[in-house]
Symmetry: C2
Subunit: 244 residues, 2 copies
């Protein structure tokens, strides 16, 4: 049994303004919550689950507050079209300080607005062991339930920071900045070594003029067909797959 | 003004069984419908649009039946969260006969169920000038509104066929069949030339055992990070970007 107040509280976390105020977010589904329970870097505040899930996962729960709910209650709480057994209330990560670029590959996202794209890019970054992602303030919120979902657990491993991207890039001194654009040098002929920032831009407008000013190398994905563009997450995957 | 019967008819085309029966599908939004109007291979049966769209596009409409609607009526017809000025009722393409593989690269999809993934893969195929896509019967329907939308117009250019994939692959004689799997040879060290079939599998289960039997070369996308897998559309993009 779960109180009406708690249902309202969890539902409110579907909205960014409440997530930011509470410094919380929600995570759904057995697979990613299993990862959460095994992670030492994540602070789970509460788990809300069906009886069967609680029984199966008793050994991982320790002293964690757990609320058992009925399927119809879970449905009210869930942001998914098909609710999936368990929801966790989790503390947001502290990402207030952004270190300057070191010997690493960083993805910089300029106004990536679709939550599914952002989540997929985080998953790709995790596949290719990118150290972190730096987002402009107008990107989708990393704690948006659709981002969490489409990242498939990778938001637990890849730190995502928000900043004034234009100013941040201007401060990155001798790190080479690459940008994915429609007309640049072919990515397969570009040597992107292990100290680089790769900028990807908005789904329809591309990279803003201000951000482009800091870019050293413009790269493109050669295509022979007639499609006007590639999905931005697909572009991210292709570019990272050409890293040496 | 649009009749209730027509509203019901258009709405019914949101479902595969009605689309199949009527051999029709719907396309939404000014950009893709502009492409439709310029294409000679597409048979538009009717256009339903707001007054402003009709005024702006009068010169392309010729003798095409056009129904003017109010925004509240368009909202009833649209499958999009934000209806977009115009809907077209379009005849399905005739894809009943599948030619055997020739000197071309073909994508073969085994049970790709997410419409967004299928649409994105069609868009990628169009970017890399893949000649056609062959789908197993349990893939998402190419005329699903979400597939049409996420293909960004590429369904007009890339023929998509449905068949018993296992049998079809067995009949492709001397064409090399590559498959994207979790453990194979690195795609960047694989020479995929211009006569090849590339198989991609289901989002969670991968490629079925039966389909794998026809595969000559298993390839994989090397990753150094901790993500368990890549999104299948992203994998398609990466593999095709490594074609010579």
């Amino acid at each position: 049994m779960i109180s009406k107040t708690k249902i309202k509280y969890i539902q409110s976390l579907g909205q960014k303004k409440f997530r930011d105020k509470e410094k919380m977010f929600i995570v759904e589904g057995p697979k990613i919550i299993h990862e959460l329970l095994l992670s030492e870097q994540v602070n789970i505040v509460e788990v809300i689950a069906l009886k069967e899930w609680i029984t199966e996962n008793q050994q991982y729960l320790g002293s964690l507050p757990v609320t058992e709910v009925q399927p119809y209650e879970l449905e009210k709480l869930s942001q998914l079209s098909v609710p999936n057994k368990v929801i966790a209330l989790v503390e947001q990560f502290d990402r207030s300080v952004i270190q300057p670029a070191g010997n690493e590959v960083i993805l910089a996202l300029d106004c990536i607005q679709d939550p599914g794209n952002l989540g997929t890019i985080i998953r790709i970054a995790d596949w290719f062991a990118i150290s972190r992602i730096v987002c402009s303030h107008d990107c989708a919120d990393v704690y948006n339930p659709k981002v969490v979902q489409s990242s498939m657990g990778s938001i637990l491993r890849i730190p995502v920071f928000y900043c004034d991207l234009q100013s941040w890039l201007q401060q990155q001194g001798n790190t080479r900045i690459f940008a994915a654009v429609m007309e640049g040098q072919p990515v397969n002929n570009t040597d992107i070594n292990d100290k680089a920032i790769i900028v990807l831009g908005n789904e329809s407008k591309g990279i803003s003029k201000e951000v482009l000013e800091s870019v050293n190398v413009r790269i493109t994905i050669p295509g022979k067909g007639k499609a006007e563009s590639l999905n931005v997450a697909v572009a991210a995957g292709i570019i990272l797959s050409h890293l040496t």
